[in-house]
Amino acid sequence: MSVALDVVTIVAVSGGAFFFLAGTIGLLRFPDTLTRLHALTKADNLGLGLIVLGLLPQAASVRDGLKLLAVWFLVLLAGATVSQLIARVARQDGPPG
């Protein structure tokens, strides 16, 4: 049982790290603001989400698990809102595209 949970942790956290890598590379390499925004949201939602998912089996108590899920939910909410707001600024700042 604990081995299976450890495998879940390793797979999920590695997946999360991969999406952070993808998000960071996208943020650095993509040509304009809106495509970079696209890359950012991957790291926000999937990267952190998978890391939270991976940490859940290791949580010491139900309360710790709930806190982890709350962190993810807050980041999802913040990410969804902020990407809207940033897109608004990007549209004002530069040519669309």
Binding site: A70, L74, L77, A78, T81, Q84, L85
Partner: protein
């Protein structure tokens, strides 16, 4: 170099890189954006140093309210920037300042390298006396009992800063509402965020206050989170800032220091000293002070961020 040290060096280099950028950036607004990132990285250092209480405070202030304050100010002052930047001091002053700052930094480096061994610590004393209050969090013990006077005066300082800001209002606007009225878009993304985030944030703020008795957290950290939620609702235009002349505003602002003072004077009358808690009631009294403090901190920080009164209606 161990792995842990490598990480610490990486973190320190990141923070210092941002600090250089904040000092050197051409545009103030960009520097303020760097300061937000700086404020988001500092809590990592504090957790690494084992000071989770401080990490919470730094996250709430540095990553949250402080960044908002400086970003908004930078945006409002953007038009003046080029003119003021032209007044850069001469090369001699830059060189002198660089040498002076380097000397200060190097002396501090020497201080760090030659700190006394073994390190002096008050931790054993704090643990020995923790039974007197019944609280499990040593930092809360220090804040609320062993150095209660500091904490009382710190809240008075917050209040004085607010009085200072309010006194910047033009005579005819005294007693009015602080800051501009934020335009509401009830179907917009900001109103959506405020409606969803605010209840959650209030729960988390109260949780941080409640946890503060035995685990990292406390009145200031919880109050800062509540202040941020209030500010969010104001920025979304869902509610307006209160007129500062209102009695409930004034009462909330003095509630924390007021309760603290009353308990302190009670200690003088019943016990043996100012701010001495009667042993049997130490914990309930401290919790009562902390609850009043949280409300006061939330109100004070919210109004500090809102600025001086700008409107009568």
């Amino acid at each position: 170099m161990t792995i842990a040290t490598t990480y610490e060096v990486l973190l320190a280099v990141m923070v210092l890189g941002l600090a250089v950028w904040i000092v050197a950036a051409r545009e103030t607004f960009a520097a303020a954006e760097g300061f937000v990132a700086y404020g988001l990285l500092l809590p990592l250092i504090w957790v690494r140093l084992g000071s989770v209480d401080v990490a919470l405070a730094e996250a709430a202030i540095g990553g949250g309210l402080g960044g908002v304050l400086l970003l908004s100010a930078a945006a409002r002052l953007r038009s003046t920037e080029m003119a003021v930047a032209a007044a850069r001091p001469g090369r001699t002053l830059h060189l002198t300042a660089a040498i002076f700052s380097a000397i200060v930094a190097l002396s501090l480096v020497a201080v760090v390298l030659f700190l006394p061994e073994p390190a002096p610590t008050l931790a054993p004393t704090a643990v020995e006396n923790s039974a007197a209050t019944g609280l499990g969090n040593p930092v809360t013990n220090v804040l609320m009992a062993f150095r209660a006077m500091d904490t009382l005066l710190e809240k008075v300082v917050l209040l004085l800063a607010l009085v200072g800001i309010w006194s910047l209002a033009p005579e005819q606007l005294w007693g009015g509402r602080p800051g501009p009225r934020h335009e509401a878009d009830p179907r917009g993304v900001l109103a959506f965020l405020a409606r969803l985030l605010c209840p959650l944030g209030i729960v988390i703020g109260l949780y941080v206050l409640w946890a503060g008795a035995d685990y990292p957290g406390g009145a200031f950290q919880g109050g800062t989170i509540l202040a941020a939620m209030w500010l969010l609702v104001m920025m979304a235009g869902l509610t307006d800032a209160p007129e500062i002349i209102r009695r409930w505003v004034r009462l909330t602002l003095v509630a924390g220091p007021g309760v603290f003072l009353v308990v302190g004077l009670g200690g003088l009358l019943l016990g043996n000293a100012f701010l001495a808690y009667p042993a049997a009631y130490a914990k309930p009294l401290i919790v009562a002070i902390e609850i009043a403090m949280t409300l006061t901190v939330a109100a004070t920080l919210g109004l500090l961020m809102a600025g001086p009164p700008e409107r009568r209606v």
